[in-house]
Amino acid sequence: RAHSNPFSDHQLEYPECPADMDWARLYPGFVDSATGKLSREVTIADIGCGFGGLMIDLSPAFPQELILGMEIRVQVTNYVEDRIIALRTNHAREQQYQNINVLRGNAMKFLPNFFHKAQLNKMFFCFPDPHFKQRKHKARIVTSTLLSEYAYVLKEGGVVYTITDVEDLHNWMVSHLEQHPLFKRLSKEWEQNDKCVEIMTNATEEGKKVARKQGAKYIACFERLPDPEII
C-alpha cells in the first residue's frame, strides 16, 4: 500500500514516555555491557523512511550516531527490518549497520513519546505523501502546528531536511517552515557543502525512481533557531 491514514486508530506500540523506550533492543551493538544500557541516544530521525535507503547510506557516513527510521506502513517496516538484519549479518565482521534501525509508528501523533526535548540533530522528510486535496492538508507531515513539535525534539542548530518531486508540496513545506519562528532556511551554498543533502538526493528509493523518470527534485533545509525570549 502506498498510503496510510495518519488519523486512524492504528494498533501501534509506543512507549508511555521517552524514558520508557527500550532502545537497547534496536541497537544491540551500542549496548554498554557494564550497564546494559545504550551508550548514546538516537540523534538522527528519518520520518517516513520508506524502504530505508537513506538510513543505509547515512549509516557509514555517521558511524558514531544512532539513526532511526519511522514508518507507518506495516509491510514496509517489516521489509526494512529484514533488510537491516541482512545487512548486519553480511557485515558482521566489520560491525557495520549497527547504528540504524526502524520503528513502525505514527510520527505525527507520537514523536514526543520517543524523543525528549532537544534530542535530535537531524530530521529527514524525504518524498512525503503529497496529499494533494486541499481538505487533506492537515494530513501533510509538515504543517505549522506539527513544526512546533519537531522544533521541540530538535536541538538548537539541528537541521530539518526536506526533499520532494512535487513542486506544490515543496512550496508548501518551504512557506510553512519559513513562517515558523523557530526555523530559518539554509542557503544553497550550505546545501552544496552538506554531505547529507548529497546522500538524500541520491540514496532513497523514491529519489532513484524520480531520477529514472528524469523528474525534478526540490530540496530545502532549515536550521532550528534558539527559542526567543519568553514574554
Binding site: 486512524s8 508511555e16 505549522s144 513544526l147 513539535e149
Partner: protein, 445 residues
C-alpha cells in the same frame, strides 16, 4: 411521554445567584430573588439553519471541481471546453443515516461576569454574549458568532479576558478576540495557534509562579501538552502517564502548580505541571464498581464471548474554589466522588461519595466552595434538574442544598409546556459520548 430536556451544561456568575443553563439548543439565564426563588432573566435559542451554509459549501466545492475539470478537458484543437453548470444540490441524509443534533455545548462566563461564551454545533461556531443585567427582558445579547471549519470541543478564556481559546475536534487550537467582527474565511485568514494530530478534549489557560502564561491542551491520544502563550509555537513539555484518552483537566486556584487530569484511565492523576512531574494518582475502579451497569458494557464489536467487557471513563474533574478538594464523576453513573488533596504531601484520597437520584450529566465548580451538577432527569416528571452541593467548612463535610436545588427545579418546571424545551424520549440529545473516545486500535495497517 414528553418532558423538559435534561440540562446539558451549566455556568454561574460569581456565587450562584445567576445561573445559565443549556437545554436542547436554548441558553437560559435565571436569577435568584431575595425570596430564594429563581426567575428567568434571559434566553437565547440557536435558530441557525444549516441548509444555506451547506448549500454554499456544496456550490463552492462544485465550482472548484469544475475549474479543475476545465483544465483537463480539451477539444481536438487543444482549447478548453466549458461544461454546463447546474445548481448545487443540498445533500439530504438518506433513511438510516445518523441523526444530526444541533446542540449547544461548553458554557463559560468571564471572571468579571460580563460575557458568556458558548459553542453551537449547528454551524460549528463560538458564540460570544454580552451579559447585560440592566436589560430586564433579556440579559443575553449575542455579540459575535464565529464559525469554524471543525466542531469546537473545548474553550477557555485568556487571563486578560480579551481572547477566547478554542480547541476543535480535528486537533487545532484557535485564538479569537472577544471584541471585533467575526472572520468570514477561517481557512485563509486564521491559522491555528497550535495543534495535535488527535481530537482535542480540553484546554486550560494557566500562569506559572514566574508570571509566564501557558496553554494546556489534552487529546484522545493520552497527551497533555503544555505550550507557551502567546508564543504557542514553543512547546514547553508533555505530561506523560495517561494510558487512555484524557477528557478533562483542572487546576485549583489554591495551589496553582497543581493539575488534575482524568479520562479513560482507571485513575485520576495529580501533576505538578510547572515541574512536569506526576505527583499522585487515585484509582477509582473499586469505588465506581457498584455504580456501573448495562450501559457500561462495551459495544458489541468490542465485546468478548461472555459479554462482560465494561468500558467507563471520567467525564469531568473540577476543583473547589478555596477548599482543598476536587470532584469528578464517571459517565452514566449516579455518583459524585470528592477527593481531599494534601498540598504538603502532594497526595489525594477519597473523602466523600455523594449518591444522586439520576446519572450526572454536567459538573461545575462555583465560587464559595460549591458544586452544581445537572442530572439526566428524563424519568423524573420534570424534577431533579440540578443539585447544589455545598462544602460545610465547620464540619469538613459536603451536603446537598435541597432548598436551592428545588428552587431551580421549580423555576424550570414552569416550562413544561414550552415547545422549545420539551422533547419526546427519542429526541434526547446524546448525553453520554465521552466513553466512545476510547481507542480500540481497529486499523492494522
Amino acid at each position: 411521554m414528553a418532558f423538559i430536556h435534561p440540562i446539558q451544561a451549566l455556568a454561574t456568575i460569581g456565587n450562584d445567584s445567576i445561573i445559565f443553563t443549556v437545554v436542547k439548543n436554548v441558553i437560559m439565564a435565571f436569577q435568584q430573588q431575595s425570596s430564594g426563588e429563581y426567575k428567568q432573566i434571559g434566553e437565547w435559542a440557536d435558530t441557525y439553519d444549516r441548509s444555506d451554509s451547506i448549500k454554499e459549501k456544496v456550490s463552492k466545492e462544485q465550482e472548484r471541481q469544475i475549474q479543475e475539470n476545465i483544465k483537463k478537458q480539451k477539444d481536438n484543437e487543444g482549447n478548453s471546453v466549458p461544461k454546463k453548470v447546474s445548481q448545487a444540490k443540498v445533500p439530504v441524509p438518506g433513511p438510516g443515516a445518523p441523526r444530526i443534533y444541533s446542540c449547544i455545548r461548553n458554557l463559560i462566563v468571564t471572571k468579571n461576569g460580563g460575557k458568556l461564551i458558548s459553542c453551537a454545533d449547528s454551524d460549528k461556531s463560538v458564540l460570544i454574549f454580552k451579559i447585560d443585567l440592566s436589560n430586564k427582558t433579556n440579559c443575553l445579547e449575542l455579540l459575535k458568532r464565529q464559525p469554524f471549519p471543525k466542531r469546537p470541543n473545548a474553550i477557555t478564556i485568556s487571563d486578560d479576558e480579551s481572547t477566547v481559546i478554542m480547541a476543535d475536534k480535528f486537533g487545532d487550537v484557535y485564538s479569537i478576540p472577544i471584541e471585533g467582527e467575526p472572520i468570514t474565511n477561517i481557512n485563509e485568514e486564521l491559522d491555528p495557534i497550535l495543534g495535535h494530530v488527535s481530537m482535542l478534549t480540553d484546554v486550560l489557560f494557566k500562569t506559572d509562579s514566574k508570571g509566564k502564561r501557558f496553554l494546556i491542551t489534552t487529546d484522545r491520544d493520552e497527551h497533555i501538552k503544555v505550550s507557551h502563550f502567546p508564543q504557542s509555537f514553543i512547546v514547553d513539555k508533555w505530561l506523560f502517564g495517561h494510558k487512555e484518552f484524557v477528557s478533562s483537566v483542572c487546576s485549583p486556584a489554591w495551589k496553582s502548580n497543581f493539575l488534575f487530569s482524568a479520562g479513560g484511565d482507571d485513575s485520576v492523576y495529580l501533576w505538578d505541571w510547572e515541574a512536569g512531574k506526576k505527583l499522585a494518582e487515585f484509582n477509582y475502579s473499586e469505588a465506581v464498581k457498584p455504580y456501573l451497569g448495562d450501559n457500561h458494557l462495551a459495544p458489541s464489536r468490542f465485546q468478548n464471548e461472555n459479554n462482560d467487557v465494561i468500558e467507563y471513563a471520567v467525564s469531568k474533574i473540577v476543583a473547589f474554589s478555596t477548599a482543598p478538594y476536587v470532584a469528578f464523576f464517571v459517565e452514566a453513573t449516579k455518583v459524585l466522588f470528592i477527593l481531599k488533596v494534601d498540598s504538603e504531601k502532594e497526595t489525594f484520597t477519597l473523602s466523600k461519595t455523594i449518591d444522586l437520584p439520576y446519572n450526572v450529566i454536567s459538573l461545575e465548580s462555583v465560587q464559595g466552595d460549591e458544586l452544581v451538577v445537572s442530572l439526566d432527569n428524563r424519568d423524573s416528571g420534570n424534577n431533579d434538574f440540578v443539585k447544589f452541593i455545598k462544602y460545610d467548612a465547620a464540619n469538613d463535610d459536603f451536603t446537598v442544598d435541597d432548598a436551592k436545588s428545588k428552587a431551580v427545579d421549580t423555576c424550570l418546571k414552569q416550562f413544561s409546556n414550552s415547545e422549545k424545551l420539551v422533547v419526546e424520549s427519542a429526541d434526547v440529545y446524546p448525553l453520554y459520548s465521552i466513553t466512545t473516545l476510547k481507542k480500540h486500535g481497529e486499523h492494522y495497517s
